[in-house]
């Protein structure tokens, strides 16, 4: 009789262990995803903080490039006021393309290209671009493991029970995927 009681105790402890294990796994992944989202935001914030410096560095040289300057200023405004991550990423991409054109235009200004302040900012901004890409990659990796767990048996049962829902990947906006057209 005692033996049966011991077996029952072991079995219920194992079942409880599995329940706890799965709950903790979901919580850990959710935290990882939230943290990587925060990292993306940190990088986007850093980039928008550098924009005023960049504008003041190029102002003296690019007097006739009004269009690109306003484009960057608008992109920064959009980024600062964006609320959700989707909007932020969109604004971030808009700024990315504006920055690309400003650096392309800068090629035509030898004085500007020799300016150490400008060069430093350019280097910093391209490093941030890499970091945004890496942070987004890590975010999507997290989403992938999370979604795999919520869709596969037995994780699926636990997800339904604990109320963890499938999450969306961060997508690259359609515009950013198009290969730029070269016109002469």
């Amino acid at each position: 009789m005692v033996a049966i009681q011991i077996w029952i105790a072991i079995a219920s402890a194992t079942v409880a262990g599995v329940f706890i294990l799965y709950y903790n796994r979901f919580v850990r992944l959710t935290h990882q995803i939230d943290n990587s989202l925060a990292q993306i935001n940190v990088q986007l914030k850093k980039r928008s903080d550098l924009i005023p410096n960049l504008l003041s560095a190029v102002k003296g040289y690019m007097k006739h490039e009004k269009k690109i300057i306003t484009e960057i200023t608008n992109a920064r405004k959009a980024l600062v006021s964006a609320k959700g991550i989707e909007d932020k990423m969109k604004a971030g991409n808009q700024m990315q393309s504006a920055l690309k054109s400003i650096f392309a235009i800068a090629e035509g200004y030898p004085d500007l290209k020799a300016n150490t302040n400008f060069l430093q900012l350019q280097q910093e901004l391209s490093a941030i671009e890499d970091k945004v890409a890496y942070a987004r990659q890590y975010y999507n990796d997290g989403i992938m493991s999370y979604n795999v767990m919520t869709n596969m048996v037995p994780g699926k049962w636990f997800a339904t029970m604990y109320g963890f829902k499938k999450r969306e990947y961060l997508k690259i906006p359609e515009a950013a995927k198009v290969v730029p057209k070269i016109e002469f």
């Binding site: 990587s36 490093a127 970091k131 990659q137």
Partner: protein
């Protein structure tokens, strides 16, 4: 690409780290005990206690200070954030890609292309690259090298590899001391051959002293080779392209041997010295490049 389960890899590394500490401690205590018994006589307990304390201090110290020791042994300097901006930026980016905390970054003065990582866990990790690495590699290649080193940190290889370096060194030292003192006491006619018990212990002691360093070293080398492949594939996982690391490995092909202590040699990205095939800490570069090409 062959799918490796990284959690499994990490778990295995943690277990083998503890196993290694346990085995080395056991070997050490047996050695100390045998030495005490054979040579000690009246000082038997003194030697045992002293030896045990010494071994424990060495193991614990090796565990907590391994990164500092490795850095000091190659006389590396801290890489300043302003001077080595790109180095810092790349590591920060890769840390975002891997979810690791940023390790401390060091520079060692050498014109060969090489790098190593050390530390007991990701929170206390260091990465060190040679000045040659920063000078000769393109940004993407440098990124590949650093991704490889970060993989060693993420997979907990650093703990295992640094521990083995420290512990293997210690076993070698103690075995040497034992064999020498045995030789010395046999000349001066010590009491070692007084009875059978002692003789058996002595044979065990000698066998241990001779075999332990060799066995541990061979195991270390075999494991080290396997880990390089694993780190190469996780580097690709972080970067999503093998191009950078492949380019770096191709350039490393033209390296000339570096002068580094044998204990830290297995930590490096590519083997720093020229060794015989079966004593290699790293798989041949051509094989590593061929594997990367398939990914």
């Amino acid at each position: 690409m062959q799918r490796l389960s990284f959690h499994e890899e990490i778990r295995k590394n943690k277990i083998s780290s503890y196993l290694l500490i346990g085995i080395v401690l056991a070997v050490l205590l047996t050695l100390v005990y045998t030495i005490g018994f054979v040579l000690g006589g009246d000082y038997f307990f003194f030697i045992i206690i002293f030896g045990t304390i010494l071994s424990l201090v060495y193991v614990v110290g090796g565990y907590y200070k391994s990164a500092d020791l490795a850095i000091a042994s190659v006389s590396a300097k801290k890489a300043s954030g302003t001077e080595f901006k790109q180095y810092h930026n790349i590591v920060e980016g890769l840390c975002l890609a891997s979810g690791l905390p940023k390790p401390k970054l060091y520079i060692m003065n050498n014109q060969q292309i090489n790098a190593f990582a050390s530390g007991r866990d990701p929170q206390h990790a260091v990465i060190c690259v040679t000045t040659g690495t920063l000078d000769k590699l393109t940004k993407q290649e440098l990124e590949g090298v650093l991704a490889h080193e970060l993989s060693h940190i993420a997979n907990y290889d650093i703990r295992f590899m640094t521990l083995t370096a420290v512990l293997v060194g210690m076993i070698a030292i103690i075995s040497q001391i034992f064999l020498r003192s045995l030789f010395w006491s046999s000349i001066t006619g010590g009491r070692s051959s007084r009875n059978n018990n002692n003789a058996i212990l002595m044979i065990i002691g000698i066998a241990l002293a001779v075999l332990a360093p060799i066995i541990v070293a061979l195991v270390q080398l075999a494991i080290s080779r396997k880990r390089e492949y694993a780190a190469d594939s996780s580097a690709v996982k972080f970067m999503r392209t093998p191009t950078g690391l492949m380019g770096a490995l191709k350039k490393i092909h033209y390296n000339t041997p570096m002068k580094v202590s044998g204990a830290v040699a297995p930590l490096f990205l590519a083997k720093p010295t020229k060794e015989k095939e079966w004593f290699m800490t790293h798989p041949p570069l051509s094989k590593r490049i061929a594997r990367l090409e398939r990914m």
